[in-house]
Amino acid sequence: MNVILGLAHVYDVNDVDTDRIIPGKYTKTLDVRELARHVLEDLDPTFAGRVRPGDVLVFGNNFGCGSSREQAPAAIKAAGVACVVARSFARIFYRNAINIGLPLIELAEAHDIANGHTVRVELQRGEVINCATGRVFRAAPMPAVMVDILRAGGLVNYLKQHGDYVIREI
């Protein structure tokens, strides 16, 4: 999970809110496959049918704003998305994503990534490479503990395994 290699789906859109990630009417279910079937439906009705496990999503500013529902990152994760790249994330969405185990990386500049490009994301080094163009983008490195939370599949599993936050040096 430390290195993610996937095809990019690019939406150069700002302020995609949690309602567009997963409409409120589907959030009553506890079945994540049902969430996955409707992910990003109002933004792009074809997305749920096209996404393949391991793909990477690329967005603009303030991704995941709106409500604090944990189903939003859960729907994206359930659809098989390996990582979300955005210029910035809404605060609660960011926390929820890490806590449920959806990798994400904040990258101010990723303008040359286009649909269908293969991107390589290395969370711990904070590096995104567009394999199609060879360009390398740098973000803040992700602290080891967050990589570990993601690797465990989320905070519940992480704390179940470790009982506490384990600080390990990189």
Binding site: R91, Y94, R95, N99, M146, V156
Partner: protein, 437 residues
């Protein structure tokens, strides 16, 4: 070494190492809190994590405030489950009628200057009034804190709001908070910590500082911290100030001496206008309550307007005090009698109609003027109602007139009824509990 903001200083202490804005850190939490709206899920996640004992029961508090007393069987059972968990663990527990979580955390000394306090409720920044860093977290987050006493967080960049000038008579911290939310916007302080400084904060009592910090949530802020200048507490504390030259994402400066009462129009807290532009709107009901404005001085301001008078015919006024201590103090000094004789209806200390899950839901097409912090469509439980936000003094004047107005419009001896921000606060009391909030 670079200079630090207040947020960076508090989080550096919590991280046990020097951290800078933008960094992600593991922090030790000084206290944590959850309500009946968030604790049940957190307790469930705590068990799923394999939790047996909370990390430090003395630092954990649970509050029944959002739907208390329980309006139905399901919520009554959730309350019972929280009671049981708190008893088993030995945590602090505030039962029905003790008050609103944010009020209790400050009033009962759960938060102190310099603390990092996390609560599973979006208005946790309220405790920033105490020169502390308070932020809201989700239920899963809170479960992790219950288990470990720690969490991970990103150190926010800060926005400095410098307040200068003398407070005009009749203008309160609520008017300033509304004005600032209107200026900064609902997302304007997104991910940031808002730090209030400047000479105009010095005369503010703790209650008014809480109002200011509280509404940084409506700017999208992660935390809101009031600088310690002028803060008086019944115990000694080490004030946390920003270093001169600390780096701020934005710095704003406002002169409060030119401020007038402000009102937020339906349906957004940032839809703010000076009261002159809202006057004359007919209202059906008023509400004085919430973690924003239901403390003793808020009730006293309303009583100063309503004493010896009667609500306009056909208009109702609901009041939910911020805590039992506030209610008791207002009973003792005659405030409650003045308000009740004027026709106000009291409900138990707690969130009351603010959140719209039980009592006090307005009818279709009704117009409510409220001292709370949010007026999103449906907020009080009915999407067909119109909610206006204002200070308690403006709410009181409006229920007297039956339309939106300010005290000077309805009360002949207005200067005695107008709120004064610049009173010298009472001398410190000998105990650790905070008096007369």
């Amino acid at each position: 070494m670079t200079q630090q903001t207040i947020a960076e200083k508090i989080l550096s202490r919590a991280a046990r190492k020097r951290v800078r804005a933008g960094e992600i850190a593991i922090v030790h939490v000084d206290g944590a809190m959850a309500t009946d709206a968030t604790a049940p899920l957190a307790i469930q996640a705590f068990h799923e994590m394999g939790g047996r004992r909370v990390w430090d029961a003395r630092r954990v508090a649970f509050v029944l405030d959002h739907a208390a007393p329980a309006p139905n069987e399901r919520i009554a059972n959730l309350h019972a489950m929280m009671r049981q968990f708190a008893r088993d663990q030995g945590c602090h527990f505030y039962d029905v009628g003790e008050g609103i979580c944010h009020q209790l955390m400050v009033e009962r000394g759960h938060v102190r200057p310099g603390d990092l306090f996390l609560g599973a409720d979006s208005h946790t920044p309220t405790c920033g009034a105490l020169n502390a860093f308070g932020a809201g977290v989700g239920s899963t987050d809170l479960a992790g804190i219950l288990l470990t006493g720690k969490t991970w967080l990103r150190v926010p960049h800060s926005i400095r709001i410098e307040l200068v000038g003398a407070w005009p008579l009749g203008v309160t911290a609520k008017d300033l908070a509304l004005f600032l939310v209107g200026r900064v916007g609902l997302e304007g302080a997104h991910y940031h910590c808002v730090e209030f400084t400047g000479e105009a904060i010095e005369p503010l009592r703790l209650s008014q500082r809480m109002t200011l910090a509280n509404m940084t949530s409506e700017m999208g802020a992660k935390a809101g911290i009031v600088a310690p200048a002028g803060l008086r507490l019944p115990y000694d504390f080490a004030p946390v100030n920003a270093d001169p030259g600390a780096a701020y994402a934005r710095a704003l400066r406002f002169d409060v001496s030119r401020l007038t009462p402000h009102v937020a129009l339906p349906h957004s807290p940032d839809n703010v206008v000076p009261i002159a532009r809202a006057k004359g709107v007919k209202i059906n009901a008023g509400f004085i309550g919430s973690c924003t404005n239901a403390r003793l001085d808020d009730l006293q301001q309303a009583a100063a307007v309503l004493r010896g008078r009667k609500l306009a015919p056909g208009v109702r006024l609901l009041i939910a005090p911020a805590s039992r201590a506030v209610f008791n103090a207002a009973l003792r000094d005659g405030t409650i009698a003045a308000l009740s004789e004027a026709g106000a209806t009291f409900i138990g200390a707690g969130c009351g109609p603010c959140v719209g899950t039980h009592e006090g839901v307005p009818g279709n097409g009704e117009v409510v003027i409220s001292s709370t912090n949010r007026n999103f469509q449906g907020r009080m439980g009915n999407p067909r109602a119109q909610i206006y936000l204002a200070s308690p003094a403006v709410v009181a004047a409006s229920v007297l007139a039956g339309e939106i107005c300010e005290p000077a419009d309805v009360v002949p001896d207005a200067s005695n009824s107008l709120p004064r921000m610049s009173e010298t606060p009472a001398a410190p009391a000998p105990t650790d509990a905070i008096p007369t909030l």
